[in-house]
Symmetry: C2
Subunit: 245 residues, 2 copies
């Protein structure tokens, strides 16, 4: 299909909570970008970029424990803390030294991995973070489909950091005029990103999850997760595993 | 309780969709402000301000039909249009001439009246609109309780106009420092309102519901619903009826 005939009619929706996803996910022939900036989707991008072969997202601690007993490297986080007995939580910094290169690892987190599971029947499930923003935008645009930006939020509540990323991505996609009328949630996300973009860290100063992470001395993680376009990978879900495109 | 000891610890949450309300409504000892700017809550304010004794909100057409057969004036709207056989839809302009003074009327709408029904077990249920913004802020602040600003949205989706009002109200409440840390949804709403406040009408130019109403030649309603502080009434729910405080 030529560029001229393919574009302009696709929609961008932003879903602010996994609890709203069934309302937006009416047609499975769409691309879902899962967003959990602090920190699941940032960690998945860091893993894949570091050379990890695949990340298996699982929803429950039980599944994670089973993989652990089989010898997998397993990350498990609940309420921002590493669960005892697992290899890591959801810190992207765990992958900085590239020690997991070539391995298939497993991850379960409070919000992010559940959101991935909800979206699994979509035409494509893509993992988005500030770290790989432009790479995701480029890949998603090529699919020529309606797009749902699924914010993992915090226990089904709205959160700021995921919305800011949704705004950054929606703005990039909208610039190329390949999408039709913006939805209210896309307009809101873009407006918020515009207000925040000069200093995301400062804008998030009062946000609930930044405070939660600060209390746990995870300031370094926060700063890292807000770095933009330092990675080129685009993790997508294939047969239950997140792999690079 | 003195001002000194009572304030500072109450929370303001903004619930962007009735579908998320159960997540935010954990403690019934709170004030819920129901918001459906285009047009249910604007119409309720206009009704009460015009001297209507009470508005009975009902969720279904069946209930509305029953009241109609008993001789009540009944408003019934679905998907922005008046349902045939009823006296009005949800246009606030219906009350401009004050012909319903002293009467008890009935209303059912696509989003607003259902949201009122969901909130009915709260300590106080208040009807908010730009028309009575400052009066609502003053009343709500006096209650000294946690506050949930419940956006009726559009068929459980996020909408801009309700969020802008939530931002305007949250900003007013926050100015007097009677509330503790703002939630992420309150920060987002206030930021959006700040971006839009100089020209709400223009900001909403691309919004889904303004377009929907424009197609139905309801431009006059839109302009009216965005007028700020032209009313002093504060409709609250008492025994299933909305009456002035």
């Amino acid at each position: 299909m030529s560029e001229e005939s393919s574009g302009y009619s696709n929609k961008i929706e932003v879903c602010f909570s996994p609890a709203l996803f069934p309302i937006y996910f009416q047609d499975k022939n769409c691309v879902v970008v899962v967003i959990d900036i602090f920190r699941a989707t940032s960690a998945i991008c860091a893993a894949i970029e570091s050379g990890v072969e695949a990340v298996i997202p699982v929803s429950t601690i039980e599944e994670a424990t089973e993989y652990k007993s089989k010898g997998f490297i397993v990350g498990a986080e609940r309420s921002a803390e590493v669960i005892e007995g697992f290899d890591f939580g959801n810190s992207p910094l765990f992958f900085k030294e590239g020690k997991q290169r070539g391995k298939t690892i497993v991850l379960t987190t409070t919000n992010g991995t559940t959101a991935i599971d909800m979206a699994k029947d979509a035409s494509k499930v893509v993992i988005g973070s500030f770290l790989n923003l432009s790479a995701v935008a480029e890949f998603v645009e090529k699919q020529d489909k309606d797009i749902i930006l699924l914010c993992a939020g915090w226990k089904n509540r709205f959160n700021l950091e995921d919305t800011l990323f949704a705004g950054a991505l929606a703005q990039k996609l909208n610039k190329n005029k390949r999408f039709s009328n913006l939805s209210d949630c896309a307009i809101a996300s873009i407006t918020l990103y515009e207000s925040a973009k000069n200093d995301l860290y400062k804008f998030l100063d009062e946000s609930s999850h930044r405070k939660r992470l600060s209390r746990l001395n995870l300031e370094e993680d926060i700063i890292y997760c807000l770095k933009q376009d330092i990675m080129n990978c685009v993790p997508v879900l294939k047969n239950g595993k997140l792999v690079n495109i």
